[in-house]
């Protein structure tokens, strides 16, 4: 232990503790801006500076550790002056038109500035602009970038993609797509982690609300039948902005909100998640039967960020991907085919929206391979959880008065197995529950495969299915995915089945989810999904009555011709920019 004094109050902290952490332990708050624990501790903003007795110049608290006898002052006039000036300097280069900014009220710069008791006077503003392709799902606004470097670090250290880098030099130093590329030519997976870790609104998802909600939007003109689906991970995050309890913010209340917004039909993507298990599970058992015909392992394909990653980084392993579409796209295809038949509507007269925790889904729905009817995309518009929340707010609804409602049927019901699709390990667990049944004819204990739960970046398990040992692994975060693939390629590990989710913790930590400065929300949201699973009366995808009915009435059976037409895809059917090192060769 190290004995120090913070603002004259003695405290003992563990050796190696940073000054910032020590101050937090002592409840002496030090503001931070660029700091991101373990990922960006570079002292770039110089806001977390503190004074240390005997040291002439100020010291950044985020990346210096405490030493025995250190006397720290977190709020001395010298510290406060330096912080104020530094914040004013940042503001002089930041587009401060806050009222219309998507991050207003949830902006770390705004918060730190607000808390600093400024007085009057600012520096002359110099705002820079950069062109950006506004039709890309990921948007960068140079005028708001404060060069904290978090995006660079997240992409390098967590996702291993290095899409961002320092651009320009000297006083013009800024951040941009690495290697001078246009973002559309870059191997960006569209995980959106740079967005959720941006302290301001320099990075954001493309706003797709207009075609849905505006005066000329489909909900208002009612030119088409409007349907909406909502992904598992959304139910555990949407209410955070309204500070609702997890119990109050039930999936049924989410359905109620969507109904209130005016959608004709409100579906739950858990239906398609169960369908995915039926298809992907059957595909896996099929591959196991004909081992030598396939490249191993089989990878899950439900995460479009991961699919983009694999296509760009390891194009020679694309055939390892399950051919099953993601639940969003299965739901989309079912809506414009099976459901359209049910309601006697032409597919071109259906406007299909999905609410997703994910930026990559915005790209996925527009892929040329995702038009099963030949009349346009199966999913017309993807909105992120944040867009849904923003629109909710704009409606000025008293959320406490929101009624609970049921999702529409068919295509609206999902099992507990489908709910956990939103978290790392969930797809694997759901698949194992049903694979076990499909292979043995018996249900396992629904909690038998709990070994694949938890926030570890790389988990593995071996499961006995009918006397065959099946080796599975679960990774989340693309850096972990890369480690696993490299180990597989070096022959150090072997797996039959690997679940990959691009975002750390899975969709619950998705790039389209609500943003909380300095907090990783995946774990707490994930727990909620497991709770919902445990409360569900059905916990096996193969017991979803709506799914079974769909097979009976329309698809016949998993992997049937119709299933292949609607629920499977050709991952080679579209191009993804290659990783720079692959391009060179």
């Amino acid at each position: 232990m190290v004995n120090i004094k913070i603002n004259d109050v003695p405290i003992s902290v563990e050796e190696g503790t940073t000054i910032l952490e020590a101050c937090r332990e002592a409840k002496m708050i030090v503001p931070t801006l660029c700091y991101l624990k373990d990922i960006n501790e570079i002292g770039a903003c110089r806001v977390c500076v503190v004074e240390i007795k005997g040291i002439e110049r100020l010291v950044t608290s985020c990346n210096n550790t405490v030493k025995e006898g250190m006397e720290i002052y977190t709020n001395s006039p010298k510290v406060r002056d330096a912080r104020r000036i530094n914040i004013k300097l940042i503001l002089s280069q930041h587009n401060c038109f806050c009222p219309t900014c998507v991050r207003s009220g949830n902006c770390q710069l705004q918060k730190v500035a607000n808390d600093l008791e400024f007085g009057s006077g600012t520096f002359k503003q110099h705002i820079t602009e950069e062109k950006w392709p506004m039709d890309f799902p990921l948007i960068r606004d140079e005028s708001k970038c404060i060069k904290c470097m978090r995006c660079i670090q997240i992409c390098d250290k967590v996702q291993s993609l290095k899409v961002w880098d320092i651009a320009k030099t000297g006083s013009r130093t800024t951040v941009n797509v690495s290697l001078g590329r246009n973002i559309k030519e870059a191997d960006c997976a569209l995980c959106g982690q740079c967005i959720t870790h941006c302290p301001v609104a320099a990075l954001s998802g493309r706003d797709d609300k207009r075609p849905v909600f505006s005066q000329n939007g489909m909900l208002n003109t009612r030119r088409k039948t409007t349907v909406v689906q909502v992904a598992p991970a959304v139910r555990t995050a949407w209410a955070e902005a309204f500070k609702l309890s997890r119990k109050f913010a039930s999936p049924e209340r989410l359905a109620g909100a969507l109904r209130l917004m005016g959608f004709d039909y409100v579906f739950d993507t858990t239906y398609a998640a169960d369908l995915t298990i039926m298809e992907e599970g059957s595909e896996f058992l099929e591959r196991l039967k004909h081992k030598e015909d396939y490249q191993w392992p089989m990878f899950t394909s439900c995460c479009p960020g991961w699919v983009r990653f694999l296509k760009s980084q390891y194009p020679d392993m694309v055939d390892c991907l399950s051919t099953a579409k993601s639940p969003q796209q299965m739901q989309g295809a079912i809506i414009k085919n099976y459901f359209a038949d049910k309601i006697h509507e032409d597919p071109e007269n259906i406007f299909s929206v999905s609410i997703m925790p994910c930026i990559a889904k915005k790209a996925e729905c527009a892929l040329p391979t995702m038009d099963s009817t030949g009349t346009g995309p199966d999913v017309d518009v993807v909105l992120n959880t944040r867009e849904f929340v923003d629109y909710m707010k704009s409606l000025n609804i008293d959320v406490y008065g929101l009624p609970e409602d049921r999702f529409d049927s068919p295509c609206g019901e999902g099992t507990g197995a489908a709910v956990i699709f939103g978290t790392t390990g969930g797809v694997m667990e759901a698949a194992l529950r049903s694979c076990y049944y499909l292979a043995t004819g018996q249900n396992p204990d629904p909690d038998a495969f709990h070994g694949v739960r938890g926030m570890d970046g790389w988990k593995e398990a071996a499961i006995d299915i009918n006397g065959t040992e099946v080796k599975v692994a679960v990774v989340s975060g693309l850096g972990n995915a890369r480690k696993l693939i490299e180990a597989v390629r070096r022959g150090e590990v072997f797996y039959h089945f690997v679940e990959v989710m691009a975002c750390p913790g899975g969709c619950v930590g998705g790039g389209g989810q609500p943003i909380h400065e300095g907090k990783e929300m995946a774990e707490i949201r994930s727990k909620n999904l497991y709770f919902l699973d445990s409360q569900n009366e059905r916990r096996f995808s193969h017991e979803n009555p709506e799914v079974l009915k769909t097979y009976e009435e329309y698809l016949e059976k998993p992997l049937s011709r119709m299933s292949h037409k609607l629920l499977h895809t050709d991952h080679h059917g579209w191009d993804m920019p290659l990783a720079p090192k692959l391009k060179k060769r």
């Binding site: 501790e41 570079i42 002292g43 770039a44 240390i52 005997g54 040291i55 002439e56 110049r57 010291v59 990346n63 210096n64 550790t65 030493k67 250190m70 470097m149 320092i166 651009a167 320009k168 030099t169 000297g170 006083s171 013009r172 001078g180």
Partner: protein
């Protein structure tokens, strides 16, 4: 009002003069990788402030140039702007009245010529290609990329063995470099911004002197691959050290009796004692490297053919150095008493030193080898030793410390004299050197050239002439074996491989021409990495040493500790080491001067530490 007054500087002027000094140091230590266009724009701002304001081109033109450069930097310029910048700068150069103006114009023109592509990159792509690849100046400038802030912080913690381990990750010749490295690492040390560069070499010496025996790391599992290394100098032995650690069996073929190359046969004992060199060599051999001494590779009698090596080893590294002398090409050069510096130093190394007792010696040349020959001749009993050089002392390529030491030991510097002929007696012995006096003339290619003085040649009686005007490479046997070379230098690629010669690599002096020890070591390191990949592996070299977190301390300006030397009257009588190491107190103080650029500034963000390669 007095008729005349004694001029006195105002306080403001004194402070500004002081700031100029600060600025000079700041410019010296300017980090590598800055945008040259941006720097030019900044220079223009300074030039413009220097204008007296009388003439148009300078008073107005420099400001206009600055504006246009800012436009280039802001991405608002076109190629037409570039042309206008050029025409304006030319007009300023052509028409300004004094050097403040026309030299400013010339500097802009020089930039337009030297880095035009950067201007164009800004105009067409909105940014330049510059990038801070390695933000730690000392590491960036060390050819081998040694982790300087890392080992200095270990020295500050008195962890000398760990410091040596960390250095060996990139450079196995720790002791040798501690004594003789030209320390390019110090040239842009950021401590210059505060006061003066850290004495990095001196600190390394302190670690090497106090580390005790530090065994090399364990080698990887043997791969079954074999590598032949031709030449046991710093480059060859460095390659062998790393390749052996990677599990490849290396055999070093050395034509002489001892390993070390120029470190053994070129650098005199008083700078690098043989037993200190042996510390490095022993450590390298302790990894299991095999040696074949007194073995020549070539097509002569008793020599091993290159073809045979190529057939019997999985890869070959040619690192034969530059071990033959250049000739003066003047009459009388073959007289008795005319010797090459290389030959003389080699004889001393082999234990057969010539006896110069009572002789008058002239050393021709101005490089480090000339100084080594001079100081050795003094130690061999010469009555007088003069260094003859056709340019000025200030133009000599030898390190200033070496020149000063030679002078202190009694050498005379005969600058601005070009050797014209060597006179002999009937028996063919040297009697005198005829030298042509020169004046210093125009600057061409960055160096002032010697020009005709119009004076008569002079006659300098002497007994011995030592020629130290450069070294050549004995490349012919290898050229005959198909290794491509240009003017005697092997044509190796950036990764040290030889194009179209599968499995053959080359590096060190035989590729670059005579250069520094650390460059040869770096070439060996590069070759080791690429040979490992060529052999189908990707072994990593790391030190396992964890570098201490920086201390939070005031960086109060403090003088640089310099190395003390034995007094001249004593030291010139023997070949024992001249330089004394730092004291413990000095080393501690000096180590604390390091600003830890690996952790402060850009280093904490990117590229501060390369832990493995």
């Amino acid at each position: 009002m007095s008729r005349l007054e004694v001029r006195k500087k105002s306080k403001a002027q004194l402070v500004v003069d002081n700031l100029y000094e600060d600025l000079e140091r700041r410019i010296i230590a300017s980090p590598p990788g800055l945008c040259p266009v941006d720097m030019t724009a900044s220079f223009l701002k300074l030039f413009h402030a220097q204008t007296c304001g009388k003439c148009v081109p300078c008073r107005i033109g420099l400001g206009v140039l600055e504006d246009m450069l800012e436009d280039v930097l802001d991405g608002k310029a076109t190629l037409e702007t570039l042309s206008l910048i050029e025409r304006t700068a030319k007009a300023i150069y052509d028409s300004a009245d004094c050097a403040i103006g026309y030299e400013a114009g010339r500097m802009v023109l020089k930039g337009l010529e030297g880095f035009r592509e950067d201007f164009i990159e800004h105009i067409t792509n909105g940014h330049c290609s510059c990038h801070l690849e390695q933000p730690v100046p000392c590491v960036a400038l060390c050819p081998a990329g040694v982790d300087v802030p890392g080992y200095i912080s270990l020295i500050a913690d008195e962890r000398y063995a760990d410091a040596v381990k960390l250095i060996r990750k990139d450079n196995p010749f720790v002791t040798s470099c501690a004594l003789v490295c030209e320390h390019p690492c110090e040239t842009k040390c950021r401590r210059n911004f505060v006061d003066d560069a850290v004495n990095i070499r001196g600190l390394k010496r302190y670690a090497a002197d106090h580390c005790g025996l530090v065994p090399p790391p364990e080698c990887c599992e043997p791969t079954g691959k074999t590598v032949a290394i031709i030449g046991g100098g710093p480059s060859g032995l460095s390659a062998a050290y790393y390749l052996q650690q990677m599990g490849h069996q290396c055999t070093v073929f050395e034509q002489r009796k001892e390993l070390g190359g120029m470190l053994y046969y070129g650098i005199p004992n008083y700078r690098l004692p043989k037993e200190r060199l042996a510390e490095d060599v022993q450590n390298i051999l302790a990894t299991g490297v095999e040696t074949k001494m007194n073995t020549c590779i070539g097509d002569g009698d008793g020599e091993i053919s290159f073809k045979m090596l190529k057939e019997n080893y999985d890869a070959v590294y040619i690192s034969i150095g530059a071990h033959t002398d250049k000739k003066l090409g003047i009459p009388g050069e073959d007289a008795k008493g005319v010797i090459s510096a290389i030959q003389m130093l080699r004889d001393i190394g082999d234990g057969n030193p010539p006896d110069f007792t009572g002789k008058n010696v002239i050393v021709v040349g101005g490089g480090n080898v000339a100084m080594d020959a001079t100081r050795s001749a003094i130690r061999l009993g010469a009555k007088n030793v003069s260094v003859m050089y056709r340019r000025r002392k200030a133009d000599m390529t030898a390190l200033m410390d070496e020149i000063e030491a030679a002078i202190a030991e009694g050498a005379e510097i005969l600058e601005l004299h070009a050797p014209q002929a060597i006179e002999t007696n009937k028996k063919g012995y040297v009697t005198a050197m005829v030298a042509d006096p020169k004046i210093i003339g125009l600057i061409t290619g960055g160096r002032p050239s010697p020009a005709n003085s119009g004076r008569e040649p002079i006659h300098i009686p002497c007994d011995i002439v030592i020629v130290a005007i450069g070294q050549d490479i004995v490349s012919e046997p290898f050229e005959r074996a198909g290794i491509p070379a240009k003017r005697g230098r092997f044509l190796a690629q950036k990764d040290s491989s030889i194009a179209e010669k599968d499995g053959v690599f080359s590096g060190g002096d035989c590729v670059t021409g005579p250069a520094t020890v650390i460059r040869a070591i770096a070439a060996g390191k590069v070759a080791a990495a690429n040979i490992d990949n060529y052999l189908g592996f990707n072994h990593k070299i790391e030190s396992g040493v964890v570098v201490p977190e920086p201390r939070i301390e005031n960086k109060t300006p403090c003088g640089r500790v310099t190395m003390m030397e034995r007094n001249t009257t004593e030291r010139k009588k023997d070949f024992n080491i001249v330089e004394n190491g730092m004291t413990c107190k000095e080393a501690n103080q000096e180590a604390h001067r390091c600003l830890r650029c690996d952790r402060f500034g850009y280093g904490v963000f990117k590229g501060g530490r390369v832990e493995e390669w």
